[in-house]
């Protein structure tokens, strides 16, 4: 489990369900499977170099064959690859193939949900369900490639998997919260947030009420884009407003720190000029600067964490927010990438196998789980090696709406894991 990482590739296929016409194909290796070396600015119709057409045809064919017999083919495994199919609104079929070690159906299913969410976000549900002109749709979908590629690639965030919003805890949250609410009112919208490298610092109440997947996708999108001073992007909210576009406005207050607004026709971008921003945010300059290092760290400087902790994922399943960091004791092995990978796999394992389903996932199952007399509250795992006393420790704890996952160094005594996790969860509880 400890060895997965950069090995393996994820291929994503998108087809029109009725005709089987491929709409696009992306891969985790450098985005476009067709590394369009000639004329990189003229990506015409999607080329499907990553996978031969016959493979794409077969993958779609076997799924359609099942459907005709009223059999829902959802996943398959070969020696080194996991395949997951999913149809959306009987109009779009997404197929994902992953040869990444330790991949799971849960991860791939959620990936497909996010990918479809990304398509709706940038193209709108109407275009995806009433396909009148397939060539035009292909062209429009190009706008979503950047976001989709970032979902397929390695990210520092985990919201794609947990479906909870990646957050950070700022040192002076209430000050920023106040300024944000005031600014949002002045700008004439209820939906506002501050985002640092794709993670939400503070947000207005209405912003927090955004549904899944847009609550995860909007900050993710902002974090995945190259730096711009400001943006005015049309977005469809996959849950809240899939057919009527809204506007996502972003304003880079400091490099890496963006003020995001979701609004209707007003205000125009030009109205949110530097004068207005300075009036509201210049007095907040120090608290804003203090947010900049929070990206990978998530927790305020000086927050007491046990030195054995190498990585941490705290989820609030009702608020649908999470804190994720692999920064503690950053000087030790394993690398941040490895730590993220191990924690992601561990999250998938405890979520798919051990813990009751998360609220909002599959409601009927959740009810069943509540009635079960035995619901696991904690679980631990030693990873990386079979030699006793040398593997990293992983521990998960469920308490009320919170779930804490820790990655600990091999020196951490196994008998103390539960106590350490309980104390850490207790200390983190006021933060999320």
């Amino acid at each position: 489990m400890g060895e997965e990482g950069t090995e393996g590739t994820v291929h994503l296929l998108c087809l029109a369900a009725s005709s089987g016409v491929p709409l696009f194909c992306r891969s985790s290796r450098g985005g476009a499977p067709a590394r369009q070396q000639v004329g990189p600015w003229r990506s015409g119709s999607p080329k499907l170099e990553g996978l031969p057409f016959s493979v794409i045809g077969s993958l779609n064919g076997v799924h359609m064959f099942g459907q005709n017999l009223e059999v829902q083919l959802s996943s398959a495994r070969t020696e080194d690859t996991t395949v997951v199919w999913k149809s959306f609104h009987d109009s779009i079929t997404l197929i994902v193939l992953s040869s990444e070690a330790g991949t799971s159906e849960l991860r791939l299913e959620r990936l497909l949900q996010m990918v479809f969410g990304a398509m709706v976000l940038l193209v709108g549900l109407e275009e995806l369900t009433n396909i009148s002109n397939i060539e035009r749709l292909k062209k429009e979908l190009r706008a979503s490639y950047g976001l989709i590629d970032s979902l397929l690639g390695d990210s520092e965030l985990i919201g794609d998997l947990t479906q909870c919003v990646d957050c950070v805890v700022p040192p002076e949250g209430s000050l920023l919260q106040e300024a944000l609410s005031g600014f949002a009112e002045a700008a004439g919208t209820n939906f506002a947030s501050l985002v640092v490298s794709g993670r939400v610092v503070v947000a207005t109440e209405s912003w927090w009420r955004l549904g899944t997947p847009e609550a995860v996708l909007l900050p993710w999108l902002v974090g995945s884009l190259p730096p711009q001073a400001a943006r005015d992007y049309p977005v469809y909210l996959p849950h809240g407003s899939p057919t009527v576009p809204h506007r996502l406005l972003t304003l880079t207050l400091l490099p890496g720190l963006e003020l995001c607004l979701v609004c209707g026709p007003r205000p125009p971008l030009s109205q949110l000029d530097p004068q207005l921003l300075e009036r509201w945010w210049q007095p907040m300059l120090d608290p804003l600067r203090a947010c900049l290092p929070l990206g990978p760290r998530a927790l305020p400087a000086g927050f007491p964490l046990h030195t054995d902790i190498l990585g941490l994922l705290l989820l609030h399943l009702e608020l649908k927010r999470c804190l994720f960091t692999v920064e503690p004791s950053g000087d030790k092995d394993p690398s941040p990438e490895q730590r993220r990978c191990v924690l992601r796999s561990f999250y998938t394992l405890v979520t798919a196998v051990h813990f009751p389903p998360e609220p909002g996932q599959q409601e009927d199952k959740a009810e069943d789980a509540a009635q079960q007399p035995q619901v696991p509250k904690a679980c631990y795992l030693v990873s990386g090696t079979e030699e006793p006393g040398t593997g990293w420790r992983l521990v998960a704890l469920q308490s009320g709406p919170r779930r804490l996952l820790l990655l600990l160094s091999a020196q951490s005594p196994v008998h103390g894991l539960r106590g350490l996790a309980t104390r850490t969860l207790h200390a983190l509880t006021p933060l999320l």
Partner: protein, 279 residues
């Protein structure tokens, strides 16, 4: 037009010598000292838009800081970058801002703006002015799909930057249409044409005679930029800020020149042109 209030409301100083008419752009180098950025003094000023030899990225709450003794005025301008889809608008703006040019082309989702600061020296008064260019760049399909995008980009713009690619004939042939469509209704706005991927002359689709003919017909400044990636620093990864600036200085200087000149004409500080654009 110098917009009021940020960070200081300034008007260009009167120009003592006669300048050409409004429709005709000023002669290159007549308003802005062309190679000043390479002089010792220029390099000192450039230091405020660099950090450790990289281009500094400024948030909207920030601006270049100069020692109080050399504090200079800032002139802000909005520039709308227009051109056929895939021609490299986003890449050009990234190059001007000293940012990494994306390897893979991703359609721009909507409007995005980029701020570029550029100190330049006025020929006439020997005064240094900090130019603040706000480039507005919008994805072609968003422009077509959403009605509010184009008006937002055109609103109060100070300049139109028309981009074509030397490797894409259609993007060059698209120019006259765009010029009439966009700039026709905004006569007092600076218009400039930029041809990108000029270094790929092996694949050029736009021969020199066409450029000459275009120049004669439109009397617009036409600049060329290369598409080769900028030089890197010793670490092999980060872009060399100074080298990047040297690559785009002619574009930034030319923009500064046109815009400053246009401001003076608009403020009535230059002899009024007898006629508008010859039709």
């Amino acid at each position: 037009m110098v917009r009021a209030g940020w960070p200081r409301d300034i008007l260009p100083s009167p120009c003592p010598i006669g300048c050409p008419a409004m429709a005709r752009p000023p002669a290159p180098g007549s308003v802005i000292a062309p190679d000043w950025h390479e002089s010792a003094e220029g390099k000192e000023y450039l230091a405020c838009i660099l950090r450790k030899n990289r281009r500094r990225v400024f948030g909207l709450l920030e601006r270049p800081v100069l020692p109080p003794a050399v504090a200079i005025d800032t002139a802000s301008y909005k520039i709308f970058v227009s051109g056929k889809s895939g021609v490299g608008k986003t890449a050009l703006v990234a190059k001007l801002a000293g940012l990494e040019v994306p390897v893979v082309h991703h359609e721009t989702i909507g409007i995005q703006t980029t701020v570029v600061f550029w100190p330049a020296k006025l020929q006439v008064s020997d005064r240094v002015v900090m130019f603040r260019f706000e480039f507005w760049d919008c994805g072609e399909s968003a422009l077509k799909k959403f009605d509010h995008m184009l008006p937002a980009c055109k609103e109060k713009t100070d300049a139109f930057l028309f981009l074509f690619s030397f490797t894409d004939r259609a993007s060059f042939e698209d120019l006259p249409g765009q010029l009439t469509r966009l700039a026709g209704e905004a006569p007092g706005v600076v218009r400039m044409v930029i041809g990108s991927k000029f270094d790929q002359y092996m694949h050029t689709d736009v021969p020199e005679r066409d450029i000459t003919a275009f120049r004669q017909a439109w009397e617009l400044p036409l600049l060329r930029v290369k598409s080769v990636p900028g030089r890197r620093l010793a670490d092999g990864r980060t872009l060399d800020g100074r080298a990047g600036l040297a690559d785009v200085a002619h574009v930034l200087n030319s923009l500064a020149e046109q815009l400053w000149h246009q401001d003076q004409v608009a403020a009535g500080l230059l002899p009024n042109p007898p006629e508008d654009t010859p039709s």
